[in-house]
């Protein structure tokens, strides 16, 4: 028995996130930690729940262990429901053979049976690599009102940035008349956010057609959306206003973390009406000693701070010893920064140990590249890690 759902969300979480290098060697991009106590996937999952969408399929493929463990039964997001909830959907072997997910559209195609169990009117396609707060229910309302076959969320970007995105050219009623993937000379600044609402029947038809097309690479942006547009489907743009950031690169991940800081942050994560839920270890409050100095920073449970922390995000259980300095950095769980070490403009992945007196990274003025230290590395005492280094996870 499955309860009929108005909308089923499908979260594409299989991507490797290769441009995050050391940070995604052992974890899928959606499981990359963010903002002191979250992971990237907390944002789309929390958005779903806050938008009253309680049926979410999470499509996993690349390095799924951490991600699977993190999602678990969905309890932190109230997605441990009896007739719906969150379901992890890895590629599988079928009678006709086995296939990896070949592209975004193929991943959904392979899971049409999951979607159809809930007999939904709409299917919401999300990706697990963006930081934002969005009420999907309003997008679905707009989709219904327009009587659309497909609605695509768009963000106003600057003209210079527009050539990095898929751009929607619309009429005055936001009806999409043309779609251009990364245009050299963009005609509009409405960039696709990779968030789609489809009528389920239409989606099913086009996915089957796409699957049977040998020339297709089975991608929504490259194949399905252009095909639908060419066939004259009713497609609308849904303008989104607010903070949205693709955290696909090391520098954008660093920037998005920094956007949480400040007295009037660019991304005000503390908004009790739209909470972001996450799974956290049971840890005691953090301790700030008499020798510490902290400014413009996020600090969370289990940390012990005896040194200096400036313009930084510290995850749980970080220890900063006396005389150590952390500046403009993101330091993930259970990292120890020993006496006199200096960490600047860096992302330190979880479990690292930064030896006494060592120097990791350079200031932002000295080096424009973020330094990344992969998980569980031990930086020896006195070692000097030059700015912009990328150290693989241990």
């Amino acid at each position: 028995m499955y309860k009929k759902q108005k909308c089923v969300a499908m979260l594409l979480a299989g991507g490797q996130g290769s441009r995050l290098y050391a940070l995604t060697e052992k974890t899928a991009k959606p499981a990359v930690p963010f903002g002191g106590k979250y992971r990237i996937i907390d944002f789309p999952l929390s958005n779903c729940v806050n938008s009253q969408i309680y049926t979410v399929g999470v499509l996993t493929q690349y390095q799924p262990l951490v991600l699977n463990e993190y999602i678990g039964n969905g309890q932190p997001w109230d997605l441990d429901k009896m007739q719906s909830g969150v379901m992890v959907l890895p590629p599988y072997q079928a009678k006709e053979g086995a296939d990896w997910y070949k592209g975004t559209a193929n991943a959904i195609y392979q899971n049409l049976n999951f979607i159809n169990r809930y007999d939904p009117d709409y299917v919401l396609i999300l990706s697990g690599d963006h930081i934002y707060k969005m009420d999907y229910s309003k997008m679905i309302d707009a989709h219904e009102k327009n009587g659309a076959d497909c609605t695509i969320a768009v963000l106003e970007v600057s003209l210079e940035e527009a050539s990095r995105f898929g751009i929607m050219n619309t009429d005055d009623n936001l009806k999409i008349v043309e779609f251009e993937e990364k245009p050299a000379h963009p005609k509009s600044t409405k960039a696709s956010m990779g968030i789609y609402v489809f009528n389920r029947k239409v989606l099913e038809k086009y996915l089957i057609e796409d699957e049977n097309d040998p020339d297709s690479v089975n991608d929504f942006g490259k194949n399905v959306i252009p095909k639908m547009l060419a066939d004259g489907c009713s497609m609308y743009a849904y303008p989104f206003e607010g903070y949205w950031k693709d955290v696909g690169t090391v520098s954008s991940l660093w920037e998005a973390n920094m956007d949480l800081l400040g007295e009037n942050p660019k991304f005000p994560i503390k908004d009790l009406s739209w909470r972001i839920f996450s799974r956290n270890d049971p840890l005691p409050p953090h301790y700030i000693s008499s020798t510490s100095e902290i400014s413009n920073s996020f600090i969370t449970e289990g940390c012990v701070i005896e040194g200096e922390v400036h313009n930084s995000i510290l995850f749980s259980g970080v220890k900063v010893e006396r005389g150590a300095v952390i500046r403009d950095s993101v330091v993930m769980s259970n990292v120890t920064v020993s006496k006199g070490a200096v960490v600047q403009y860096s992302i330190i992945d979880s479990g690292c140990s930064i030896g006494a007196g060592s120097i990791v990274g350079r200031s932002k003025d000295e080096c424009s590249e973020v330094t990344v230290v992969g998980a569980d590395n031990v930086i020896a005492s006195g070692e000097d890690i030059p700015g912009g280094s990328m150290i693989s996870a241990k």
Partner: protein, 379 residues
């Protein structure tokens, strides 16, 4: 493998800290930035694989029920077993509760005998909520089983003032740990003695028999009416625990223990950083704490969700506290969602939940007599 049920008394000792228990049970008194007293008793049980837990309560229990919820934050939302809250059972037609007002552990057990009688596990662990410790209950159980005891009482030897002794139970035992005498709340005792941690292990059959007997004889005190009377022929043992335990017998105790938590890192380690024995609490999904450029924080324990723009020294800040620009807070405990506005100044203050201290206000208590602000008050 033996099986064990836990019973927690949530109201016994409410009178210890009347300031903080006016609106709540002692079990739900906030402690240590993000915990409630009962979290220690519950975590001790869960960490010792006890997944059947009954919480007996009587009054002021809304905050307790809100805190526990389904029990899932302690892994106690379970198909079989899990947590069960036992409030007073008001009988139809009689117009009164089944048992009247409960003041003691024994009365609490009598009033819930219908539940007690159905326990089929071999052993029962009884725990009060005024004791803060991280203890492996399996060690007591092993000791209890090896000595063939009827009941085993966790104790710790300590030097007591007359005041301290007055609010505690003191056990005397022979070299083998067999109890020879018990003093409940003595008014004439001081010096060294084994103070009871209010954690007791009992054989289920024995405890059921004792409670039935107490119902028949209208006994009211476990220590006076059962233990003291049966010392000659029953096998009562003490289990000497030498780890940290904090006993809260007064508001001053509460303040002193909280301040100890800041000053003493070993104590924090012994309470919170024990391998395989984390302390669980209700998850609130607060964001990390934000320290502004102008913040100045020293020697403090701070929970998530705070916004700090001012000066904080030697303080315990619970979740969601806001310290305004220019505000100076020293030696204080500020509970959940307290707001200290700009340029306010606090010293030795305990602010209950949701209080607001307006800009420019100066408040000070003394270390031996901290100033208490009631829940929700605006000053």
């Amino acid at each position: 493998m033996s099986s064990t049920t836990g019973i927690i008394f949530s109201n016994i000792h409410d009178k210890n800290i009347p300031e903080l228990t006016k609106l709540r049970t002692i079990a739900s008194v906030p402690f240590g930035c993000r915990y409630r007293f009962i979290d220690f008793a519950l975590s001790n049980m869960v960490n010792s694989d006890i997944y059947n837990v009954n919480v007996i309560t009587q009054h002021n229990y809304h905050s307790l029920m809100d805190h526990i919820g389904s029990g899932k934050d302690w892994d106690l939302a379970r198909r079989s077993g899990g947590i069960k809250i036992l409030p007073p059972n008001i009988m139809a037609y009689s117009g009164s509760t089944a048992s009247g007002i409960i003041n003691t552990r024994l009365e609490a057990l009598k009033s819930t005998y219908h539940s007690l009688s159905r326990i089929t596990d071999d052993y029962i662990v009884l725990s009060d909520c005024d004791v803060i410790c991280n203890i492996d209950l399996n060690d007591i159980l092993k000791y209890h089983i090896s000595t063939g005891a009827d009941m085993t009482f966790a104790v710790q030897n300590m030097e007591m003032t007359r005041e301290r002794a007055q609010s505690n139970t003191i056990f005397f035992s022979d070299e083998e740990g067999k109890i020879t005498d018990v003093l409940a709340y003595p008014r004439n005792f001081e010096g060294s003695g084994d103070i009871c941690l209010n954690i007791i292990v009992a054989n289920t059959g024995y405890l059921q028999q004792v409670v039935l007997d107490a119902i028949a004889h209208n006994y009211t005190s476990l220590n006076r009416d059962i233990i003291a009377k049966n010392i000659g022929h029953a096998n009562y043992r003490v289990y000497k625990y030498d780890g940290f335990f904090g006993c809260v017998s007064s508001f001053e105790d509460y303040f002193a223990l909280s301040m100890d938590l800041i000053k003493n890192p070993e104590l924090r380690d012994e309470l919170f950083n024990v391998k395989n024995r984390p302390v669980y609490t209700k998850v609130r999904n607060s964001v990390p704490t934000y320290y502004s450029t102008n913040s100045n924080v020293k020697d403090s324990l701070i929970a998530d969700g705070c916004h700090i723009y001012g000066t904080v020294e030697n303080c315990i800040l619970f979740r969601g506290v806001k310290i305004g620009r220019g505000a100076v807070v020293k030696n204080s405990i500020l509970m959940q969602d307290t707001i200290v506005d700009e340029n306010a100044s606090l010293n030795c203050v305990v602010a209950d939940k949701n209080t607001v201290i307006r800009g420019g206000v100066t408040l000070s208590g003394a270390e031996s007599a901290p100033y208490y602000i009631v829940k929700g008050k605006m000053i």
